[in-house]
Symmetry: C2
Subunit: 294 residues, 2 copies
Amino acid sequence: MNFTQKQSEYVQIIEDTLNKSIKIDNPYYISLKDAMQYSLMAGGKRLRPVLALAVAEMLGKDLNEVLAFACSIEMIHTYSLIHDDLPAMDNDDYRRGKLTNHKVYGEAMAILAGDALLNLAYENMIEDAINSSNSRKLEAMRLIAKYAGALGMIGGQVIDLSSEGKSIDEDRLKTMHRLKTGALIKAPVEAAAVICGVTDNELKLLSNFATNLGLAFQIKDDILDVEGDIENMGKKPGSDALCEKTTYVTMFGIEQSKKLLETVTNEGITYLEQFGSKAEFLRDMAKSLVERTG
Amino acid sequence: MNFTQKQSEYVQIIEDTLNKSIKIDNPYYISLKDAMQYSLMAGGKRLRPVLALAVAEMLGKDLNEVLAFACSIEMIHTYSLIHDDLPAMDNDDYRRGKLTNHKVYGEAMAILAGDALLNLAYENMIEDAINSSNSRKLEAMRLIAKYAGALGMIGGQVIDLSSEGKSIDEDRLKTMHRLKTGALIKAPVEAAAVICGVTDNELKLLSNFATNLGLAFQIKDDILDVEGDIENMGKKPGSDALCEKTTYVTMFGIEQSKKLLETVTNEGITYLEQFGSKAEFLRDMAKSLVERTG
């Protein structure tokens, strides 16, 4: 099975599970289900949960062992996008080619739908941990909470917020991306690895791989914001420039950024050596992120 | 020790713990810590965590056994207030006599500070469960997640949102309050009881007590919105009328609401009989909520 087929297979499993995960049937607030479902099922690459499934399969484990946690991370990612798009934040009207949550359901509902998705992410993980005999799930939950919270993604969002319209230095830019994008890419890789019971050395290697993958993802995002087009991206490029954001491209120039993207990706792939041919999907995924057009 | 002294003792323990719980020291986003701390330490009755401590003490357990969970529920309550006060939601400028979070830190930061508090609540509980040999903590976490989420408090917020300016029937009003206020009052009582290892019958009794307490709390809130004054309440009364909200007072009248408050409180207290004199604090607390002026 080639990379694209395997990826579609993973995405299908994830979408099927996500699609059944919002269990609201009270007629008084069924609208909340609609709003949550709208953003959760709005497509996208499902990069984060796919990473979790791929790590589990590489390690020879049943995908179901990590599926709930994988989907919870996607819920956390989705809630963060809903809140990020709000008028008080990035004020975006489109996401993945569709109207953003608040443009369809209103701001108040978008805030609550985001809150509810974050809460559901934990509810799902807790439920899964209770129904499982795998005591490492609590530790995996701890990792995800750290990466999602104030010391992780939310910290990065605050740096981003306070950096708009300012010229920021390299250290601040890197810290921002390590937290804002990087943390939630490390989360599924490390959480899946922990659930599958890897050695400390294997965890370190996979964590390093994920760090590089996250960095590459962000550099590519910055490049696409200059070179991408609306059809492939599902949103208007140029938003960084519009918000006067410092990016890899404004800091290092487009050519240097492309070189950096290559270097970071290749270095990331070296951390997979120990896993041999079983790491093929993860290697291909790293390469595919370099080539992506949206 | 009388009720007020005991209550102050509990509040002191809770505030000391809350005050140390936000561990952000990265200078790039220390502002997030300020925003989270501002609302978390803005006072208030600490009703929810006090309930958890009181249940643990009544059951003869060490308060530390439930302290982390008690504080997590207060974080969840605080995040919900920050988001509720936003312009897109209730658009309140004051809370407990202080400017609301977004009035001080801006809307974007208020959204993120709320998100971060919700996430921290789970992080804290997970950490506590990992460091404890008490396997019932996972079950307590499950209860809290249910009461905080789409099937609990957030569901109630959505009903509230969609009911403004509309005349709603009794069933809808009751469902709204059961979820919006009731759920997060049941959470500390049930979670503490589960952590302390109560019998099914004891859990049922305490759950019933908490249901009545939550309902009484809401009826009193509705009465105060008509009869309260700004000094004691820390916010302007009359906001329900301003938003054309259906309340117990608009539905049953002020006298009938007061009678209902008495009945519901007294019925709640009967569920404590089995716990004898050890339930004195909880009984006094139920009565104090009837008498409160803010």
